[in-house]
Symmetry: D2
């Protein structure tokens, strides 16, 4: 017994490594591929894991999308957040069922979607975005995935107006100048909890880290994550020829309650063994 696909569901239509699509099942009409038509009324009513054929006889599997699919294939007007980088955030910051999380910018809603999925059913994602049209697009994407009731969208510039929430479990900054939001983020966060910023350039890393040190964050560290595909062929196993070489640096730090102390220099003894873990 499986899960019956219904109109409105997200489905991966999988023909091959090179040809696969994330589709919202529509009440009527067809999805067109280079291998032929797939009428939606033949998808609805089937179960995930079933296969259907186009009118040309080509096989497509109906697969359940993961969050990585939603993130990578969202309708977007901005840069994407890659699953590899979201993974780093989720494991470092306190995002869990019931968590209250602040995020800005809303972007295309890809990260909002993933966060909403993980804070269900009692948590909330508070998603801030300065540009109304981006906020609207993000909201539409979250609705498409059925997660709107776990999100609140704010069209606002948090640099000047701050965040409305306090005592949140995590703050995630995906903006070009995260250092301008370090103070409001500090104010919004629970003591001891994690602020995450993602930025593409090293200069942004420098300024964000400096801002965090001054504002009162400890355990600040910066990571980059790389992902490489391995190809398993009858001719042999080898890594893919090409890969994404860079998306963002991820900056992490925990809020401390008394910022002044953070700057107390406590000298390491000269013989301190270097812990490389």
């Amino acid at each position: 017994m499986g899960t019956m696909i219904q109109s409105g569901d997200q489905v991966i239509l999988y023909h091959s490594e090179r040809m696969n699509y994330l589709v919202t099942v529509q009440p009527k009409g067809s999805f067109s591929t280079h291998r032929g038509q797939l009428p939606f009324d033949r998808i609805a009513g089937r179960e995930f894991g079933d296969a259907i054929r186009t009118h040309l006889g080509f096989l497509f599997y109906l697969l359940k999308p993961g969050l990585a699919d939603l993130a990578m294939k969202v309708k977007r007007s901005t840069t994407i957040v890659y699953p590899k980088d979201v993974g780093t955030m989720l494991l470092a910051a306190a995002v869990f069922p019931g968590a209250r999380v602040v995020e800005t910018g809303s972007g295309s809603g890809a990260l909002t979607t993933i966060l909403a999925s993980f804070v269900r059913p009692d948590g909330r994602v508070y998603s801030y975005e300065r540009r109304p049209e981006f906020s609207a697009n993000a909201r539409a994407n979250v609705e498409r995935y059925g997660l709107a009731s776990f999100c609140e969208f704010f069209v606002r510039d948090p640099e000047h107006e701050g965040f409305e929430q306090t005592d949140v479990d995590a703050v995630l900054l995906d903006v070009p100048e995260p250092w301008t939001l370090v103070a409001p983020a500090h104010k919004a966060l629970k003591g001891g909890y994690t602020l995450v910023s993602i930025v593409p350039t090293v200069e942004q890393v420098r300024r964000t880290v400096s801002g965090m040190e001054m504002q009162g964050f400890a355990r600040i560290h910066v990571k980059e994550t790389l992902e490489r595909e391995m190809l398993v062929r009858t001719t042999g196993i080898r890594p893919a020829d090409r890969m994404v070489a860079h998306t963002v640096y991820t900056i992490l730090g925990n809020k401390v309650n008394e910022p002044g102390l953070a700057n107390v220099a406590v000298p390491e003894p000269a013989d301190s063994p270097r812990d490389e873990t």
Copy 2:
């Protein structure tokens, strides 16, 4: 207003990049560091984000651990599952609040802990392990983190006895011979949903992928994830000198309901453009 730390809580005691500890707050006694003593009764009652000093005057912050900390610092008798690899799993497979997830082996319970954290409050992690002492250790770790009520432990060899559950949202295999469990995993999984295996060697990749192809999985792919720390120093920004070069390959695939079809060779046309995304 913050979160008051209580006996039994997990706390990161953070002095510096090189000196920080994940500690369970005890009813009495002290935690000893190379920088002096930290009595537990001075930790309990403080808030996360506060700082305390050892009897020698050194500063330690009381920080909230993330899941990455729990995973990396669990009491372990087996190989660890790295956060970078867990991130890949979480984004690819259907692990979400309410999900029912099968995992084997239980190992040290690190992955169990992370999964339990994300399926709360209505989901379940079914954790299988052949070796009773490992299962007991994993259970103890999950209890330490207060997540035992979301887990069920089975001391059982799933190769011969299978998994008890059906229609689960995800199956995660962290065993030396995952190909022996592909058939029970297929049986346990919902159609269209994702099986994840992690293995250190290329030969294991080959055998697992072959087993999945034969058993009825589609969209099989294999990834490795690398993580590099960036050091932000007053003398300049640069990557860390050393890094973890390899942990596991992650193998992913979606269950298809009619295995026979999976082997139908559908030729790609010669002019098919290569999609490198």
Copy 3:
């Protein structure tokens, strides 16, 4: 005082990161670019480092190509050998002025060109290739770079006929089945010197390493080399978006004179510290 460019010289015509060409200066005619024409008679007679303009006014610099340029931009009918991988070879094996080096296959002559450049003026590259048309193309490329007098080309299958040379300083195998050539390579090499093989898949690594162990090689090790571009922009420094994720694994080993001994198992003591350098 610089170096005057003459007809027959190799020149990099550099307009921008995206638009640059490796060109052999011809006695007459023009080189056409999307930015206009560059007549060869305006290139010859200039010095390396000078700039000229197309008839449309766009600036091109006349730069001296490095070996990496020759390797990457050779006229080719086969897979290329990447500079990053050639670098590994050159530093590991004994390729130096005066060295006698065996190489197979000749491929497009890219590696031959680099080797010839480094064994000048008294060394020799002995380049073997089964397919006459490939050998001819490789020879033509080497001639284009003015290095033909340091090379000898053999159209021959070394698996059955062996290499003609003995006591060579290095043997480099760039063929699909290097394990078939391990015995002739062992015969051709000086004792203690290095055999290098490059292969794209892990299965080829396995078979080549096994062949080398049996034939009598010690200090066998396998490497992969990755290269990532950093972009220095006014907007910030960051790694390039995309990179080459894989070309080949490089297998290295030194010939031992008495193969039987190589298989003597000398147990490591249990307390042997692991040298990670």
Copy 4:
């Protein structure tokens, strides 16, 4: 027939992956290992590729060192230059038999050794170093490898005194502030030829690139090279657990003769396809 080892030769004494040494054969005495003594008079007179046993019966092979071994195992008082990074330099810059190359600082002479090896017999390495004791150590290392006659050492600060040579084929800067040497390097180099700088931090990259742009270099680009070992075991093939994550960024650029032109902004048309090669 092989190559007989003589007193003064460099030899790799190879017992196992973990236990191997680069040794200069002495006229008398022994080399001590954890597996027993190896008397030099039993090494001299043998051939490369032979095996000898310690007085405890353990086997050591006598192997020919490559340049990578000389670089990694030089007697050093400074940071090492890694073979992977030297490979990048050799392929990008004009280092070849007969080349005249300027290098600074001399460091431990590791890079000097490699350069000297490749410019033989008619080329020269001009090695500049401010600190007399470093220069002396570098010279001693180069002498140990029998390459002193291809090198000239200068104890001098090139920032203020410049380089003595002009029209050299390559300039290699391995100093903390390469931007201070860009002008003398430009003056020393042949037009169109390549300047190489290696630096560990991103800030150094920025300043060096800016200096090169202003001084008159084109085709400036920056690379980092990573190298990962693959372990081939009977239990399977997999990458090594740990690796060197960072050594240096390599900055490359070609001298242009009329610096002013380098700053002429030539607009790219909007539809310019991005060449990712």
